[in-house]
């Protein structure tokens, strides 16, 4: 880490003092130990601004979809995630496109939440487990219940908000509606999702392989698809055999 130049440190201290004086005048200052110990404070204005925008977008979508939104998550500065049921998939995309003016279709894919049966193939402490029980499945933002989740991102260029829409796909027969009537660009993304994960997209006009050669068996991006080369030979990047300069063994 490089040292922060002195003149910048002085500027940060002056700004902090000014802000604390203003806060002290408006309300009694709370004496949290963190505020005294933190060397450089992050400006709070930026975070609040993006929150408001994302929350406004979430409000617009909630007005449109109501109970269809099962869960939502806002990452300040990064975007808005919402999760809907698979039956409301096209409704949610239509709401994003029309109510939020999300005209730009970014991408569409599938998340496989099953922990890899081959392990993480890294030499990390957390990977040395005593038992060989299968790890519990964990979901990310906005949770989930099934192994496969469809996810798509749409973006509004005019309102500068990006929305990620997720939907759970049923475990026994993962099917979902196509987004092509809403976003024509979803065509090739759905073809990739079909061949790589083995899900079914209803009413897709052109179900054929887009990346994989014809006659390819299996669905490669599923977690339980074996990489045969790795099974034969472990990944050589696991352990640094050579000591760093200056290190004793």
């Amino acid at each position: 880490m490089t040292e922060v130049p002195e003149h910048l440190l002085k500027k940060a201290a002056e700004a902090r003092a000014k802000r604390e004086a203003a806060a002290g005048a408006a309300a009694p200052a709370d004496d949290t130990p963190a505020s005294a110990a933190a060397p450089v404070d992050e400006p709070e204005e930026d975070v609040v601004e993006t929150d408001e925008q994302a929350e406004a977008a979430l409000q617009v979508l909630t007005d449109q979809l109501g109970d269809a939104i099962l869960d939502s998550h806002i990452a300040p500065g990064r975007g808005l995630w919402i999760r809907v049921a698979a039956t409301d998939w096209r409704r949610a995309a239509t709401a994003a496109k029309e109510a939020l003016h999300c005209q730009f279709f970014d991408w569409l894919s599938v998340i496989d939440w099953m922990p890899s049966p081959y392990g993480r193939e890294l030499d990390a402490e957390q990977d040395e487990r005593e038992t060989s029980d299968p790890e519990p499945m964990e979901w990310g933002y906005t949770g989930g219940e099934t192994r496969f989740q469809m996810i798509c991102r749409v973006h509004s260029v005019t309102r500068h908000i990006g929305v990620m829409i997720k939907a759970d796909l049923a475990d026994d027969s993962p099917r979902i509606d196509t987004l092509i009537p809403v976003y024509a660009g979803a065509n090739w993304h759905e073809r990739e999702a079909i061949e790589m994960f083995g899900i079914v997209v209803d009413d897709h006009p052109d179900v054929r392989n887009i990346y994989l050669p014809g006659g390819f068996e299996g669905h490669p991006l599923r977690k339980d698809y074996p990489l045969l080369a790795r099974r034969m030979k472990p990944w050589p990047g696991i352990v640094d055999v050579e000591l760093m300069p200056g290190e004793a063994s």
Binding site: P213, Y225, L227, A229
Partner: protein, 166 residues
């Protein structure tokens, strides 16, 4: 040439024929991935000029090519096309495998869709390692190929096993 096949050609004449052959090569480029950029620098830019070695790039078709530079990742989807185009080249033909993807699969050795090395489908004469190799490295590979051609026994090559196109 009946003299060449029967091996009755005197050595200096073979050397002369080989020398004239090695300095008049027409190279077919298979730019499949990032190595194609370095190959383009080696073949088409004035700095790493390949024409000074007597090798001219960009033939009109594989049927007019003397050797081919396979540069880039060969996927399983592309492999039949690589094989077919190599079979369309007339003898004597040579193959330079450029970059680690074409040599052995490279950084994608564990992928589900990559052919681990183009020598799984076509015979390779010179391997140029690198990711990507510098244009000078490719030029050295071409110089090595030229050296190999110079010391080649044309009689052996003519009398070799017939190449059967399936």
């Amino acid at each position: 040439m009946g003299l060449v096949e029967s091996g009755k050609l005197p050595k200096p004449l073979t050397k002369l024929l080989n020398m004239s052959r090695k300095y008049s090569m027409w190279v077919y480029q298979w730019g499949l991935a990032c190595c194609a950029i370095e190959m383009g620098a080696a073949f088409a830019s004035p700095r790493y000029d390949v024409m000074r070695l007597g090798v001219i790039p960009l033939p009109a078709s594989p049927r007019q090519a003397d050797f081919v530079v396979v540069s880039g990742t060969v996927t399983d989807k592309m492999a039949p096309a690589v094989r077919r185009l190599w079979e369309q080249m007339p003898d004597p033909k040579y193959v330079i495998s450029m970059g680690s993807c074409a040599n052995c699969g490279g950084p994608y050795w564990d992928s589900y869709s990559v052919t681990k090395g183009v020598d799984q489908i076509i015979p390779v004469d010179v391997y140029v390692p690198g990711c990507p190799p510098r244009p000078e490295a490719l030029l050295e590979g071409i110089v090595l190929l030229q050296e190999r051609i110079l010391h080649e026994d044309m009689a052996e090559r003519w009398k070799g096993d017939p190449i059967v196109v399936q």
